[in-house]
Structure formats: C-alpha cells, structure tokens
C-alpha cells in the first residue's frame, strides 16, 4: 500500500512525523527515529542563544499524559548547524525554531539555512517560556508578522505551529495570510501538578504543558476547525498513539500527523501506525486522499 504523502511539496514515505522536542536534540537520535519508520522528523526548537532550560523536574508522567516544562533548552543555532548537517538522511528534516520576535526568528532561520533544512516549523506555541511560543501565537498580528519575515527570508516551506486556543482559527488564518505553507496543531496545553505532601508545584517551572492521550480530543477539534477554515496543509499533533488516532486526524483534515509522547511506550510507533493506516486503506479500498477531511461536514 502506497502511503506516500505530499506535504507542502515535501515527499513523505508515510504521513507520520516525529513531533518537535521529542528525541530531537541530536542527529543520532533523529536518525534512530528515521530508522524506526517515521516519514519525516522535526527537531527540538532552536533559538538564537544557548539555553539550559528550566530547573527540574522538567517532565513527569501523570495518569493520562505527560507534563513538561523543558524550557526551550538548546545549544543555539550556531552549534546546531553541525547537528543538522549530520541529521540529513533518509527522510525530510524539519527544523523547529523559536524567537522573541520576527527578527530573532529570521536570524535563526538564516543561520540554519546553509545546513540544509527541508522546512522550518515556527514554534509559536510553547506554553512555558515567557516571551516566546504561545505568548506570540496567541496574537494574530505577531503570527502574521513572524510568518512573513521567515517566509521572505528563506526558500523552503514554512510551517507554523499553533497553541490550542479557542481562537486557534484566527491564528491559523493569520499564519496563512503571512504566507505559511502549513499549520501544525497543537502544542501542549497549559497545565500543572502539585505534590500534596510537600505542597510544592511539581514542575521546576511551576507549570508546563500537558501532552499525550489526554489532549487528543482537543487537538482533533483544532484540526477539524482549521481544515474547515484554511486552504493550506494542516498537520495534526496531540495524543496520537495508534493508527486509529492517526486516522481520526486524517479524517478531520490533517495531511500528516506528528507523534511525540507515544514514543514513550513504543519507539517503533511510526512503523506501527503506518502499517495500521495501510491496512485500513486496503480493507476499505480507499487511498489517503479519499479519507483526508472525509469527516468534515
């Protein structure tokens, strides 16, 4: 069964993509994910300067998902160019980048372009780093401005990753207006946990982002709404751990899905999901295009 998918001009061997920030800091781990079947990989978000991230705990497992506040730890784009060059391999490498404003985003994109990224994913959605991510993604003007700045600076596809808000369609439309080739929905949801013995918030940063199974229904609605309103590619992310989850997102209009937390249970989740999608298509006598957006009524 052919699962080849075209997303913003990139040929993916299947529609499963490693989500930003999961095993994405080094070339070797990105390559390990490629060999476990992913159709493409997204790197850890990279910025202008070295950041050590938040103090620990930076991540915990909860009953229904994970909480994380890594805090955009990264070695800066200067250092990451070596990693990116080495990461280039079997499948497209999409580089996630972040900044405080349009200038910083542009600087990072231009700094990395020489190392050959296949696309950029703009992190306008991280919920736990002040002045970055979601604080920009919630403002449609900033979304449009930043998207346009990067789009004008580079000649590779630009994806815009959005935070899960009730106004996500507004931000999505702003990204489209700024020239985005795709939107990616969603990042983690703002969340926290408290240790009842010590009465301390558990994350070093006090609060962070919820990922995993718990957020799937939220992400699915975001994708559904964006698909109805936008005419660029939508990439679904949030709680995908099985081929059935992946198909829900495709039925809601996603061209591809990113997978993060589910790597915890299964390193080969990409292969397993692709196999499941292939079986479903075979059984139903459809191809991917027939299914994509089929639930949007």
């Amino acid at each position: 069964m052919d699962l080849t998918t075209n997303v913003t001009g990139l040929q993916l061997r299947n529609p499963t993509i490693l989500a930003a920030g999961i095993l994405g800091s080094t070339a070797s781990s990105l390559k390990r994910v490629m060999s476990s079947g992913a159709g493409a990989v997204v790197t850890k978000s990279i910025g202008v300067a070295l950041r050590e991230g938040h103090p620990g705990p930076v991540m915990i497992q909860t009953e229904h998902g994970f909480l994380n506040a890594i805090g955009l730890a990264n070695p800066s784009y200067h250092e990451f160019t070596h990693e990116l060059k080495e990461a280039k391999g079997e499948v497209p490498v999409i580089v996630s980048i972040f900044g405080r404003n349009a200038e910083e985003f542009k600087e990072v994109a231009l700094g990395l372009i020489g190392a050959g990224p296949d696309a950029f994913e703009l992190n306008l959605s991280c919920p736990h780093a002040e002045g970055y991510g979601a604080s920009l993604g919630e403002d449609p003007n900033e979304v449009e401005k930043i998207t346009r700045a990067v789009k004008e600076a580079v000649n590779v596809p630009v994806w815009v990753k959005l935070p899960p808000l009730t106004s996500i369609v507004k931000s999505g439309l702003a990204a489209q207006k700024g020239g985005a080739d795709a939107v990616v929905a969603i990042n983690t949801l703002p969340a926290m946990a408290i240790d009842i013995e010590s009465r301390f918030p558990v994350l070093g940063n006090i609060s962070g982002g919820l990922s995993g199974a718990a957020i799937k229904p939220v992400a699915l609605k975001c994708v559904y709404d964006l698909y109805a309103a936008l005419n660029i590619d939508i990439i679904g992310v949030g709680g995908v751990s099985s081929w059935r989850d992946a198909l829900e997102f495709i039925l809601a209009g996603a061209s591809a899905i990113e997978i993060g937390s589910a790597v915890y249970e299964d390193m080969d989740v990409f292969r397993h999901i692709s196999e499941g999608i292939a079986r479903y298509l075979q059984d139903t006598g459809c191809d991917l295009e027939d299914v994509q957006g089929a639930a949007v009524r």
Binding site: L23, S29, E52, A73
Partner: protein, 253 residues
Amino acid sequence: MHAEITQIVNETPSTQTFFFDLYLGHVPGQYVMVWIRGVDEIPMSLSYSNAITVQKVGDATAALFKLGKGDSFGIRGPFGNGFSLEGKSILLIAGGVGAAPLGSLAEKAKGNNIRVKTILGAKSAEELLFKKRFDNAGDLMIATEDGSLGYPGLATELVDELDLAKYDAIYSCGPEKMMFRVLNIAEGFDVLSRVQFSLQRYVKCGLGLCGMCCIDPSGLRVCRDGPVFRGDQLVGTEFGQYTRDASGKRVKL
C-alpha cells in the same frame, strides 16, 4: 513519591548516604530522579534499595547535603536497565563515587554465590567509598592517587596487571576517562561484550522522551536504554570523547 530521610551516613569527606523510608525493588545500576524541592531534580543511582550515595558537586547536591533526618525529597523511579549479573566469577572496577551502584551489585553477586573481585580507586584513602562492602563481598584491591592506601596510582593501572579473559563479566563505574581506559584494555583482551559500563550523561526527563542524553552515533538513550551499556555498544561512539551540557552542546572530555 515522597521519601523521608531516616538516616544519613558520612561515607567519605565528600559523600553521604541518605537512607529513606521506601524500599524500591531495584536492579543494581538503576537510578532514581531525586527532586530537591525548589532547587532541581537530579539522577542518582540506588546504592541500596532504600538509599542514595551522593557526592557534593553543585547546587542541587549542596541543597541535599543541607537536609537532615526527618526531612524529605521527591523521588521517581527506579529507572534504567541496571547491570545484568552473569557468570561465576566477576570483576568490579570502581572509581570515586562510581562505587555507588557497584556496592549493591557486589552484595547481590555474593548472595548468588558468584566470586567477586573489586578494584576500588579514589584520590586518597579517606575518599574510598564502600571499602567494607566490597571487602565483605570478596577480594578487594585498592588504588589511591596520593598513595595513602594500597597501590599508589590509578585503578586502571591495577587492571593492566590482570588477565581480563579470566572473568565471566566485568562491571565498571567511575570517571569516564577511567572507564574509557577499561574499554581499551578490554578491547585488547577481546572481551568487550563481557564488560558493562554505567554511563553518566545529562539526564533531564528520565523517561526517554526529551532526548538530551542520547549517545552518538547510535542514538541510544542513557536514561532509558542505559545507563548500563556493554563495551561492544560503546566502541566507536562519543564515549571517552565528549559529553553534552544542559543545553545539548557538546563538551570535550
């Protein structure tokens, strides 16, 4: 989980063992993430099923050293693979605080009637960790850099004298330079697959998701696929060459 400190033992001038009120069923070599509230969360090997043995090196460990009996910290785990105990006669090579996970391995081996020989190294006699535990578990050879006890020099110089082919399995934990030397010696004896090393890398999430502790070029995660790796998994990797800091930047060893 909430761990209340039940007893603190001064092991050496720089290390203390913190016993707590939980018994974690663990494989020697497994570690826990220790949350010193309001400061940081750091990985620590279990030196007993109810204790960690800590060397004071920075903020989080200094904060831990300020705690007393009755105080508490948060704990997640045990995590990682731990040492796999094999054969009838084994060799342990420990350097400095690297003796922490090997102490409980030595005791488990003795309990299984495995012959244990240990080479224990430290800067000075007073810095030798778990001397008694290793002595009780079998044969002990000591090396101190200042010559205050045992062989004057590095632990690896004692390893040089041994026929590594005689041991069914070899276990090593200590400074990476020391372990890298052990790797080279083992390569000379063609026994790489019989040596198990416990690695130290910057462990952030402990769950195998953030990817900060992956080793090049295999992408194996120290926090989840390790921290224990066999010599044949480490040949030709970053091991002995470089590590990474909290940002993911490479740092030469």
